[in-house]
């Protein structure tokens, strides 16, 4: 069995001799790994796609304003038809469009309308049935319904938009269900509980983003990395608290997390990791300086040290970006 280096060297030789093409290699890779790389991984959002999504968003906005302005005049049936009805119709239009290659690119815009409008439709239904629409119990139920619908659609249709909304509605379900379980108990229900949930959601997003980056769901990894690292580091910094009620554990562990993020930004080639890692390192320097050194050294001197440290962090960040994350041109 030839080693990886030998195989790569052999491919290089064959390519130089124009015996094989890039497409041949991609086809062989896809056949072996079962992952379509070239077609989907490198797929960028075209202007047309962006317009489709903007159109979907505007339709959602229109339905929302229509319902808001006519809430007292519309009867229950009209409200349901305008929200849940239009959401379901949009879903089926998306299904029809996805069956034809010529219209397939427009189908996610209709799925987007469905995903945005369906929760409002469910709210209208439950509100009319006399439920308390603000309660965590009902939020859990509605998020559970739309999460299940999107997850099921994703499993059947394998569309990235359903993966995205499964994650969004899954997050909503996670937050509302945990709040529902805790209810108004004097234990757990404080801001720290919220921070821990954000921290773990961020970690979960990062792991999902990493997994997706290796598959046909790669377009989602940027979103997941960006929001994941923001939640992860933001919650960790917030959990550190402020003197005299600071949490030493989180204050000490935070630099480890930030440098871990900066280190990972290189290995997973994520600009979101580098950007947020740099910003949070700066925020941490400012926080620690003002918390512990402003009284001893004096505020002006502490500011000078913080400023110099931030210049150093900025320089390091740009160096990492130029050296490891910029695409060669």
């Amino acid at each position: 069995m030839a080693t990886k280096e030998e195989v790569l060297q052999y491919i290089k030789t064959l390519a130089e001799q124009k015996i094989i093409t890039k497409e041949d290699i991609d086809t062989a890779y896809e056949a072996g790994s079962g992952v379509k790389t070239n077609i989907v991984l490198n797929k960028k959002l075209s202007i047309a796609n962006i317009l489709y999504y903007i159109g979907g968003g505007i339709v959602f906005l229109g339905i929302s304003i229509l319902i808001y302005q006519n809430w007292s005049t519309f009867n229950f049936v009209t409200k349901v038809l305008a929200t849940l009805g239009s959401g379901i119709v949009a879903y089926f239009i998306g299904l029809l469009f996805s069956r034809d290659e010529r219209t397939e690119t427009a189908s996610p815009a209709f799925y987007l309308i469905f995903a945005l409008v369906a929760p409002i439709g469910l709210y209208v239904v439950f509100d009319n049935a006399g439920f308390d629409v603000g309660s965590y119990g009902l939020q859990s139920l509605i998020s559970g319904i739309v999460f299940s619908a999107c997850l099921l659609s994703y499993i059947i249709l394998r569309k990235n938009i359903f993966a995205l909304f499964s994650i969004i509605f899954g997050t909503w379900l996670f937050f509302s269900l945990t709040s529902f379980i805790v209810n108004d108990s004097p234990y757990l229900n404080d801001s720290d509980f919220y921070q821990y949930r954000i921290f773990l959601t961020g970690l979960s997003y990062i792991l999902l983003g990493y997994e997706f980056s290796k598959s046909e769901r790669a377009p989602l990894s940027g979103f997941l990395y960006g929001f994941g690292i923001l939640g992860f580091l933001g919650a960790a910094l917030s959990l550190g608290g402020w003197k005299p009620e600071q949490n030493i554990f989180w204050e000490l562990i935070f630099p480890v997390l930030v440098f871990g993020t900066l280190f990972l930004s290189v290995s997973i080639k994520s600009k979101a990791f580098l950007t947020w890692g740099t910003l949070f390192l700066m925020a941490y320097i400012l926080k620690i300086t003002s918390e512990y050194f402003s009284s001893g050294l004096g505020w002006p001197l502490a500011l000078v040290i913080a400023g110099l440290s931030m210049i150093g962090v900025g320089y390091m960040s740009i160096s990492i970006k130029n050296k490891y994350l910029s695409s060669p041109s």
């Binding site: 997050t171 108004d184 234990y187 801001s191 997003y205 792991l207 990493y210």
Partner: protein, 176 residues
């Protein structure tokens, strides 16, 4: 097993929220299975008034283990028509309140410590409010009272008569 190994980051990413939900549910419900539930009843007062001033008045207190009625001097300015607060015994096992008269309450042997002898105290509930993704608002819920201790809490069904929940005043634990 091979599939899990192959998709370990996906499995981890999806199990974190599920484990957190199980952890939260466990931390709320499990301690109750291992801790001896509260058993000491307490006496409290509640005034039937919508006026904040009336609800805030501490009409009763405990002196040498006995209930006494304090003389309330209303401020000269303003007219205050406050009803006399009602007295209730909270049966913590049945989780229900029973109204009693002042004369009956005077016969009780009371302990006005914050913590009962079995390690529980009466506290306000807390309330998290908001809509996804803004669940961060957390505050004291003045409409609820809990018995809290030994890592468990039990919601109390108490009589809050006034518009303001400040009408509730804990007086003391009933000693046998």
């Amino acid at each position: 097993m091979e599939i899990i190994k192959k998709n370990i980051t996906l499995v981890l990413g999806m199990s974190i929220p599920i484990l957190m939900i199980l952890f939260v549910a466990g931390s709320i419900y499990l301690p109750g299975l291992f801790v001896k539930p509260p058993s000491i009843n307490f006496l409290y007062s509640s005034v039937d008034s919508g006026d904040y001033y009336c609800g805030d008045i501490q009409q009763y207190s405990v002196q040498n283990g006995q209930l006494i009625k304090n003389e309330i001097k209303h401020p000269e300015k303003g007219i205050y028509m406050c009803d006399e607060p009602k007295l209730f015994i909270q049966d913590v096992v049945k989780n229900e309140s029973k109204q009693i008269s002042f004369d009956e309450a005077k016969k009780l042997n009371l302990d006005n410590s914050v913590m009962s002898s079995d390690g529980f105290e009466v506290v306000y509930g807390s309330r998290g409010e908001g809509f996804f993704p803004f669940f961060f608002y957390s505050s004291t819920n003045y409409d609820t009272r809990y018995l809290k201790g030994h890592n468990i809490s039990k919601k109390l069904n108490i009589q809050l008569n006034g518009v303001y929940s400040y009408s509730f005043h804990f007086i003391g634990w009933i000693k046998n």
